[in-house]
Symmetry: C2
Subunit: 403 residues, 2 copies
């Protein structure tokens, strides 16, 4: 068996280097621009916001990823380059061109991402000097990986990272991820960003399929405030340097797929627990739905209900709010079939209330993470999503004047 | 011309009497059960929650209104009779039977409504004695009308009433309405209720059509927290005693329709301004949409966005949140066409930011009611909805333990 590797950052998988600098997009000399580069063209896939108002970097990435390959990415925090018109589009393209030139690669092989204030043009002179400086610092050290995780933060309270190591064909395969929070955070900070590096050898089609699947069960299953950003970006780059036989079928990739699922869910849950003003977590499982789409709709409706979120904050086992949030959804549902549990305690069976010991319910509601399970008894589909409470602190953060 | 009438409550239109009592469903001897009765069978129409988890009284009303006629209604506050299983259904029916017997009419002619805590059976002995007492008090006085408005309140800060008088065929036609708030209010109080009386002579089909239309532009265009209740009920009763020639066509009913629109919008706006913890109002107009459904979806998405609502509370002209809420909707929309105004000030034109004097924008955001207009430039449909801000007080109210 090959030995374990010690660098558990995004520069851990073979082939990747990162460089991060402070170029003045954030205040206080904080890291705000970073470049990630692979020593060879990497197999790449991305999942982006479905918001029809999307930032310029999203348009560039979609185009550049059409070939399923990428070799570098440049990312800035502090300015989202969203709602910036044709000028913003030129800025995003310029960022890829400059990065490509400095690395000596095709600009089509460079991805770009931005996060921060909406509706303001990037200060391009700062960005340009930042890109050159970041490329000058490229390194495959753990420090370079940790700095990258900090450079993409906006008002996250802590950097979000995850790492897994698996064995395939007697080779060590590493997967590493960094992310920044999904809350739309004052002042006007939007966006969840996630970048994953791996050295697995895999076909572009399979990577794209597995990544979409992992994202659906993780980043698409979390909600802080139901506000889809203009810049949401999740990208994976696979250098193929681990030495395994190239993964081409779902069957051969089960181990890698499971590790990728874990990485994505791990990062997604870190985002939720760092949700704005959040004090408690919420897991909403809908089962017995006719379709996964139905289960997903209902789960997110519960997790996004301001009333459910306030009840969670207050530790109030107010299950009427849960059931009415489910019933309001456009899904197959009949109230006389619905079961509802908070933790392991049934509060509703077949649409009729269960006589419950209120004190034990209050204890369940006081937990750091509260599980809600609703069985619709309409079919066999299920979906689980993850949210947090709504607190006065959330309102305070988001009501602050941003100019 | 006939003279004006002086009773501007729901007992003002000819034929209606009301009686309200405190039967112990609320604490502190507050009025909590009321009966409204018409001296003849009235033409009737109703619009109810589309929540699949609906309260027992909703099921009863839907059935009883199938004939387009009703002669009385009984309503209680303090208990929603929702999620109460088959037993709750029996209770709702029993309320109509008892009211019908005391009035000497067919139980099918009696409607029933409840608002209050979800998941608990009604204390029927109290309800039964309350119904008898309320019927004993039936009167057509302004006082009886005002008491009815108070009896249906839960945690509303003030009763909500509206009144209009029009002339048709040289007859005075009165329309009066009462409503209670739409917020899902602690402790577990749900529901918007609205009852309208009129003495107009009108066909059942036309009344139903006009009422549905008025409700769509008023009660279905307001949002406090995007939480559709299990008990939402809007009912109109038309005694036909005003003496006008029976309205049968849309063309003949334009004056009545306009007055009904006004009554409904007036009551709906009173509900919003009494929204939980609300300090400011929001009007969101989406125009240039491909369909009214698109316009409606986008308008409600903006008015329900926690981030937009927090920005409103903080007086922050954070238009990126507005645009990204619109773009997240599943509607026909292209970002390069979008215009956005706050008040009369453009902040975005054709998807590009407008250079704006921040101080004048801040002044607009400081208004008691803030207007947001988004033109999608995709078609000619439009919709306007009404909301309020999200405040720490809302969280406080809804986080309180309810048992």
């Amino acid at each position: 068996m090959p030995s374990k590797r010690t660098n558990n950052t995004i520069t851990g998988p073979l082939g990747f280097r990162a460089g991060s600098v402070a170029c003045g997009l954030k205040t206080g000399h904080a890291l705000d621009l970073a470049v990630l580069a692979c020593e060879c063209p990497a197999v790449a896939a991305g999942v982006f916001t479905t918001n029809k108002v999307f930032a310029a970097p999203i348009a560039v990435c979609r185009k550049h990823l059409a070939a399923g390959q990428a070799q570098a990415l440049v990312v800035n925090a502090g300015n989202a380059n969203a709602c910036t018109g044709p000028g913003g589009m030129k800025d995003a393209q310029a960022m890829t061109v400059q990065t490509a030139r400095a690395l000596g690669i095709d600009p089509q092989r460079v991805l770009v991402a931005s996060t921060g204030i909406i509706g303001q043009r990037l200060p391009m002179p700062r960005v340009r000097s930042g890109i050159d400086a970041a490329i000058g610092k490229l390194a495959d050290t753990p420090k370079a990986g940790r700095e990258f995780a900090r450079a993409i933060m906006t008002t996250d309270r802590y950097p979000k990272t995850a790492f897994q190591q698996i064995h395939l064909d007697r080779c060590v395969v590493c997967i590493a991820g960094v992310a920044k929070g999904a809350g739309m955070i004052a002042p006007n900070m939007a966006t969840m960003l996630c970048f994953i590096t791996t050295d697995v050898a895999i076909s572009p089609t399979l990577l794209s399929r597995l990544f979409r699947h992992s994202v659906d069960k993780s980043f698409n299953a979390i909600t802080v405030d139901n506000h889809m950003s203009t810049n949401d970006t999740a990208v994976i780059l696979a250098s193929g340097l681990a030495g395994n036989a190239t993964l081409k079928s779902l069957a051969s990739a089960s181990k890698f797929a499971a590790a990728l699922d874990d990485i994505c869910l791990d990062l997604a849950l870190q985002m939720v627990s760092d949700g704005e003003g959040a004090t408690k977590g919420l897991e909403v499982a809908i089962c017995g739905a006719r379709t996964v789409a139905d289960a997903r709709t209902a789960a997110l409706a519960v997790a996004n209900s301001p009333l459910v979120k306030c009840a969670l904050f207050g530790g109030d086992p107010n299950w009427g709010r849960i059931i009415s949030a489910v019933g309001a959804c456009d899904i197959a549902c009949r109230q006389e079939r619905i079961d509802c549990r908070i933790g392991s305690q049934y509060v509703l069976r077949k649409g009729s209330p269960v006589s419950v010991d209120r004190r034990s319910l209050a204890k369940i509601m006081a937990a750091k993470v509260v599980q809600i399970t609703v069985d619709l008894h309409m079919g066999r589909a299920e979906f689980c999503c993850y949210g947090c409470d709504l607190t006065p602190e959330y309102v305070r953060i988001n009501a602050e004047y941003h100019t």
